[in-house]
């Protein structure tokens, strides 16, 4: 499920809920039923590339945005809006041997986006 992108706006995290029921895994995943994975979207032109919305600034991205504003199309285009900070989730499920398993996965949720 994706929340409608209201008004676009610069590079930032957008809500995205991943439902395990959607992929038919709800009969073996005990918990959670799904999780807020989110995703990054938005242009990385100036001033977003400079971290205008409080997202972390990456010097190289700022340099590219500056060069792009000076000579659009002369080099590889604008920086990309990508995850800058991620957090983990845990999943509790029955495995094929009828054991109850708890697995911890790093970098599953986008908390913050940045231009890179």
């Amino acid at each position: 499920e994706v929340a409608p992108v209201a008004g676009g706006g610069p590079c930032r995290a957008r809500r995205l809920y991943v439902s395990f029921r959607e992929v038919g895994w709800h009969h073996w995943i005990i918990a959670p039923r799904g999780f807020m994975a989110n995703y990054c979207q938005g242009p990385c032109a100036l001033p977003a590339a400079l971290g205008a919305s409080g997202s972390p600034t990456f010097n190289h991205a700022a340099l590219r945005a500056l060069m792009y504003s000076a000579a659009p199309g002369a080099h590889g285009g604008l920086p990309c809006c990508v995850p800058a900070r991620l957090s983990p989730i845990s999943v509790l499920f029955f495995d094929n041997s009828d054991n109850v398993v708890l697995r911890h996965y790093e970098d599953m949720v986008v908390d913050e986006c940045g231009c890179r």
Binding site: V23, L92, D98, V100, L102, R103
Partner: protein, 226 residues
């Protein structure tokens, strides 16, 4: 069935070979697993009643509640239960020995065991009976079987004052060599002897709580400096 592209990719990202079929018979989730899940899952901790301080996420690759490194915790059921004789005494009149069998074929070779706790529930021959003076002695050893390392390790012996609470025995460094990888099947021989004349007890339930750490899923906390 072959999975459609994205589902197969997500399953692979979750480190699973195939989508499990689900529990053949619906069964309750052990309370310890619920408790670990609620303590471990940052989204649960953020939303749950026991809110951790903002900004703190659990240490990666560490199971706080059990105090060991780990990113996979399994609650493994005993496969030997159906074949266990219900008798309370052996033919020789002493208390019986039981064999418990744990299927660990799902544990990957890259996973390092960091904790293996045997969880046992016993039942008195007469419900509510006081039990023998001095309690019981539990012995745990690797059972003989194909490819078993039985006999090499001295049995683990544990004093059990009462059978009212579950009995827990740490196997790593005892019946299971600390740096050994998980066997495909773990077979254990158990015996529970009263320290003074008393009727024997019955093994009601056995399970294994196994914590492993898969280093491939552990990210370095600090980005490499160039």
């Amino acid at each position: 069935p072959t999975l459609p592209g994205p589902a197969a990719a997500l399953l692979q990202a979750l480190g699973l070979r195939d989508a499990p079929g689900g529990a053949p018979t619906p069964r309750p989730v052990p309370p310890i697993m619920w408790r670990l899940f609620r303590r471990q899952d940052p989204q649960e901790t953020r939303a749950g009643p026991r809110r951790t301080s903002p900004g703190t996420t659990p240490r990666p690759c560490h199971v706080e509640e059990l105090g060991v490194a780990g990113n996979i915790v399994r609650h493994v059921r005993d496969r030997g239960a159906p074949a266990r004789p219900p008798e309370l005494t052996s033919a020789a009149g002493s208390c019986p020995e039981w064999t418990v069998v744990f299927d660990l074929s799902a544990v990957e070779p890259d996973e390092h065991p960091s904790r293996a706790r045997l969880e046992l529930r016993f039942a008195e021959a007469v419900a509510g009976a006081a039990g023998p003076v001095g309690g019981w002695e539990l012995s745990v050893a690797l059972a003989a079987g194909p490819g078993s390392m039985a006999g090499r390790e001295a049995p683990l012996r544990l004093a059990v004052p009462s059978l009212r609470a579950p009995v827990r025995a740490e196997l790593l460094g005892a019946a299971w060599a600390r740096n050994a990888s998980a066997p495909c099947t773990l077979r254990l021989a158990l015996a529970l002897r009263p320290r003074s004349p008393a009727t024997c007890a019955r093994l009601a339930e056995a399970a294994l709580l196994l914590v492993t750490v898969d280093p491939r899923l552990c990210h370095p906390l600090v980005r490499q400096r160039r």
